[in-house]
């Protein structure tokens, strides 16, 4: 068997196993089209622990399932938080869930952000749009174990100021002196005193030692590619850059074939990939 990389796999319940009913404890409107759901298993059952970067298949009865990253704290007991953006019928139904409602959960699935790779290194986190929710669990872990890591630089870009998710939490993070949080938007009006432009334009202001840095990227594919290229140009090795890929998912166990990205099943060999393992596939159009 050829191949210069081997993808680590992960597994969870196949689609022949039905989702488990979870109760919606709380919903928080993040932006006009994004809501965070707080889910707890019904009947006091335990929710399987997850690792930052993983996702669940969330189920809206009568509508279908969608792969949504877990956006809460792995140490938060007994449930999951998911930040859902309305993008289709299933996400619309999920976003309309109300406290007391029921959402089905199947998972968790996928490969996690490799926290251990960042020990004793500077950490650069770049998130675009809905790329921040899959990174938030990682940030919680990094902050909880803060002394193990070097500098912590975050860059978060959204479309407009009102599309920034976790806005209140971001203000709180910005007051900390053990991390640096830059936000930028694509366009803004007069009431925005922050930066306007791409996340990559914020990199020159980030302070990190490239040869001793690990980067975690999540957002639209073009954004991740450009950010990775900018980091490489700064001297960050391609083995130290990680990104979270996205593809159409149905089964979440590497069986239905929909999420294939080159040789990898994004649901099972990803969604978190090391940049050097996938750089050649990112360069191929319509792969």
């Amino acid at each position: 068997m050829g191949g210069e990389s081997s993808f680590a796999g992960s597994s969870g319940p196949p689609p022949s196993v039905a989702p488990v009913p979870f109760e919606v404890r709380r919903t928080t409107s993040e932006t006009p089209d994004t809501v965070t759901l707080e889910l707890r298993p019904k009947g006091g059952a335990a929710a399987t622990r997850f690792r930052p970067g993983q996702f669940n298949m969330l189920y809206a009865f009568g509508v279908g399932e969608a792969a949504i990253s877990i956006s809460g704290d792995p140490e938060e007991p007994g449930g999951y938080r998911h930040t859902v953006r309305v993008a289709g019928r299933v996400s619309q139904a999920l976003a309309e869930a109300t406290p007391g409602g029921v959402v089905g959960v199947r998972g968790p699935y996928g490969t996690p952000w490799p926290l251990e790779e960042a020990v004793d290194r500077d950490v650069v986190i770049v998130a675009g749009g809905l790329g921040l929710p899959p990174l938030r669990p990682l940030l919680y872990e990094l902050l909880r174990q803060r002394p193990r890591f070097g500098r912590l630089e975050l860059i978060y870009g959204a479309r407009t100021p009102k599309d920034l998710v976790f806005y209140d939490e971001i203000q709180h993070w910005r007051t900390r002196n053990d991390l640096r949080f830059q936000t930028t938007v694509d366009t803004a009006g007069r009431d925005w005193y922050g930066d306007v432009g791409l996340v990559t334009a914020r990199l020159p202001d980030a302070r990190f030692e490239p040869s001793k840095t690990v980067a975690f990227l999540c957002g639209p594919e073009i954004m991740m590619k450009l950010t990775a290229e900018a980091l490489l140009a700064r001297g960050v090795p391609p083995t130290a850059i990680w990104l979270s890929m996205e593809r159409n998912m149905k089964c979440a166990v590497g069986l239905c074939g929909h999420c294939q990205f080159g040789p990898a099943f994004v649901c099972r060999d990803g969604p978190v990939f090391r940049y050097s393992d996938v750089a050649r596939y990112l360069a191929i159009r319509e792969l």
Partner: protein, 156 residues
């Protein structure tokens, strides 16, 4: 709002990312007609359509590039900060600014008078070429960034 302060301007230009490493004698000539400018938050730095009579090197603060469309609120399409430069329309006719630029934070910049800059570059083509080779990547990067912003990746 404007202060003219020509003390130690050369040194300051040399500290700026855009000018760093240029031939010292050329840098000195560049600095001959340079001056410091300071802007309060909200101040309009340049107005679209006005004569583009200077090249600005930003040292501190934040500047928003704004586009005004009649039926829409004022929109910022880009912000610039320390280490960035503002303006290339001074280099070719009709020598008019193409955007509004407004200070968002207290901003300090060094300005170079456009007329002096043009005749200096005309008279020293080799240095002029070097100068353009620094300016063009700035323009190219802005263009690439704008293209990506245009894709509205975070939109629907």
């Amino acid at each position: 709002m404007n202060e003219n302060d020509s003390t130690a301007t050369e040194l300051r230009l040399a500290d700026h990312r855009f000018f760093r490493g240029l031939d010292p004698e050329f840098l000195a000539r560049l600095g001959e007609r340079s001056y410091t400018r300071t802007f309060d938050p909200g101040a309009l730095i340049v107005r679209e359509g006005d004569p583009a009579d200077e090249f600005l090197a930003l040292f501190a603060g934040k500047v928003a590039l704004e586009i005004i469309v009649p039926d829409r609120p004022r929109t910022t399409v880009q912000t610039l900060g320390p280490g960035d430069v503002l303006g290339w329309s001074w280099l070719f006719p009709p020598h008019r600014w193409r955007v509004d630029a407004r200070a968002v934070k207290p901003t300090r910049a060094v300005g170079l008078a456009a007329g002096h800059l043009r005749s200096l570059l005309d008279g020293r083509p080799a240095d002029g070429y070097v100068f353009l080779l620094r300016l063009l990547p700035v323009i190219a990067q802005r263009l690439e960034n704008t293209r990506v912003q245009l894709l509205d990746l975070h939109g629907r």
